[in-house]
């Protein structure tokens, strides 16, 4: 399932329209940065088996997030690097090396049909992205802004450019997801609260862009109180009536009525987004100030990367 996404559609949740956007927003931003775009530009979110792309004009592309073993005309190209590709090149993805979602950015951005100020595909509303739907064979996607890159390639079919970004989510502690306690955390019994940290949770097959259902020993609450619906966010961990947990992801509903046990911190959303059914992880609580600090650091890192990347690209384009 491949769709066009950006960083999400904000300002419409009061109408029940969820923000959507890339599951792994960090990787989507890095892909744009590597090719000299603004981080808010639309990208293609790819799930394996992913679409193949035929380039009708020379392009500067970058692939980030999951490693699906990408090739240009059969030759391997690295992730997290900008790559110049010639006219009539074919980009293909062959196998899952790691991760579960890859992002494809092209210099100049993708021509999309924005809906409510966002290019993100909203499948339920059948709006945004490319015709409001999943990409299909023979779809043609325009470049939003054409750039003349012909002279850079000379006779080569492609060229990997000499700057890159780090793949943060592939680093250590992959199995740990940090969260803030949710408002109904205290509804859990003492033993359930203890278990929340001691257990590892398995992501079940019943997991998609809306949310991940987790498998573990069922949890117990000590209250008969029922919750009325209230807003939920990306990363909210809800307790379902059967005692199991769900973590809400990019296409989550705007509101929900299940107890909120925890909220995964923003910098760990990408890590979660790159997990797949069968993967396991543990929860750990952190505090607001740590969550904020980590997010600020991540944003500063992206800014630095963006400045460096822009500088190098300008040098290249100026010859």
């Amino acid at each position: 399932m491949d769709t066009i996404q950006d960083l999400g559609r904000y300002g419409w949740q009061h109408m029940g329209i969820n923000p959507g956007g890339a599951m792994d927003k960090l990787s989507a931003q890095i892909a744009n940065i590597l090719v000299g775009n603004e981080t808010t530009e639309a990208v293609v979110e790819l799930h394996f088996p992913a679409s193949a792309f035929f380039f009708e004009q020379p392009s500067l592309i970058a692939i980030t997030g999951a490693d699906f073993s990408a090739t240009i005309n059969g030759e391997c190209i690295p992730s997290m690097r900008p790559v110049l590709v010639s006219k009539y090149s074919i980009l293909q993805f062959h196998k899952v090396v790691n991760g579960s979602r890859a992002y494809l950015a092209v210099h100049g951005g993708l021509g999309t049909e924005p809906w409510l100020n966002s290019a993100s595909t909203h499948l339920k509303a059948e709006a945004g992205g490319h015709k409001g739907r999943v990409l299909q064979k023979d779809d043609e996607i325009a470049f939003r802004k054409a750039a003349d890159l012909c002279s850079l390639l000379e006779k080569k079919e492609f060229e990997v450019l000499p700057w890159k970004a780090d793949n943060d989510w592939a680093n250590n502690h992959l199995e740990e997801i940090w969260a803030l306690p949710g408002h109904e955390w205290n509804w859990l019994s003492d033993s359930s609260r203890q278990k929340f940290f001691e257990e590892s949770f398995v992501i079940t097959n019943h997991s998609d862009r809306m949310g991940y259902h987790l498998r573990g020993e069922p949890f117990c609450t000590t209250t008969k109180e029922e919750m009325i619906s209230s807003a939920v966010s990306f990363g909210t961990v809800q307790l379902l009536p059967d005692g199991q947990l769900i973590v809400l992801m990019a296409d989550h509903q705007t509101t929900g009525g299940y107890p909120r046990l925890a909220h995964v911190i923003s910098v760990h959303h990408s890590r979660l987004a790159q997990m797949k059914p069968g993967d396991q992880f543990c929860f750990r609580f952190t505090d607001q100030s740590t969550a904020e600090e980590l997010y600020i650091k991540q944003q500063q890192h992206l800014l630095q990367l963006q400045n460096a990347s822009k500088f190098k690209l300008e040098q290249l384009l100026d010859g």
Partner: protein, 235 residues
């Protein structure tokens, strides 16, 4: 204390907080939520990206990175935001500053469009016609939108036709009108859903390409009127 109803503020992510006025479905509390929502739409707090009203709570999403650059060090962005909203709440006049719209929704309650109406009537020990009469005689408040684009939660349903939601969601057609507990609602689009379906409206509750895509807004008053299958088809 006028202007400052009893409330709690808590985070629902590292960049969103909820102001909760109590875990209840209550018209005057919902009105307070909507008044604050409208006030914030007009005069947003610095750094706010959006506000989401629910039955008895308002959630504020904010831009952590932008705010961090502009607020004093030594406080978390969350704490700063909480104080800003606290002040807003204290200034907030509770005057109802929006006119209530009354919107009539035509509904065809015929069995073909109402897969659960017979079971509901049996369970409540009344005739199907009575279910229709009761449902279409009430005035309902739109408490909130959520679940799907344009899906509204209306209340409150007459005790005589209150039934719990289904234990397993089933496919529901667009326009279907359902009951779940004291709530009634309309599915704007086809979707799996757990509400007991008692009819269908020919109206489009959600049109993506309109400037205001959702037909109903929180705070509206809704009345249902029964139409025949023929009227439905020629609507």
């Amino acid at each position: 204390m006028p202007g400052s109803p009893k409330h709690r503020i808590f985070p629902i992510s590292d960049s969103a907080l909820t102001i909760d006025f109590g875990n209840v479905i209550d018209e005057s509390i919902n009105q307070q939520v909507l008044d604050l929502f409208r006030q914030l739409q007009q005069y947003p707090v610095t750094g706010m990206t959006e506000a989401v009203p629910a039955y008895s709570s308002l959630t504020i999403y904010y831009d952590l990175f932008q705010l961090r650059k502009s607020i004093p060090a030594g406080t978390t962005v969350y704490d700063w935001m909480r104080v800003q909203l606290q002040e807003k709440l204290e200034q907030s006049s509770l005057a109802n500053n929006g006119e209530t719209r009354l919107i009539t929704i035509p509904v065809c309650y015929e069995l073909e469009f109402a897969p659960d109406i017979e079971a509901l009537a049996r369970q409540k020990n009344i005739a199907v016609d009575e279910v229709i009469a009761i449902h279409s005689s009430g005035l309902y408040r739109v408490y909130m939108l959520g679940f799907l684009p344009g899906f509204c939660y209306l209340g409150e349903v007459d005790e005589r036709i209150v039934v719990p939601r289904k234990s397993q969601p089933q496919p529901v057609a667009a326009g279907s009108v359902g009951i779940a507990g004291r709530q009634t609602g309309i599915y704007p689009m086809a979707s799996p859903g757990g509400w007991q379906i008692i009819g269908r409206t020919p109206l489009k509750l959600f049109e993506a390409q309109k400037e205001q895509p959702a037909l109903l807004m929180a705070g509206d008053t809704v009345r249902f009127t029964s139409i025949t299958k023929n009227e439905f088809e020629n609507y």
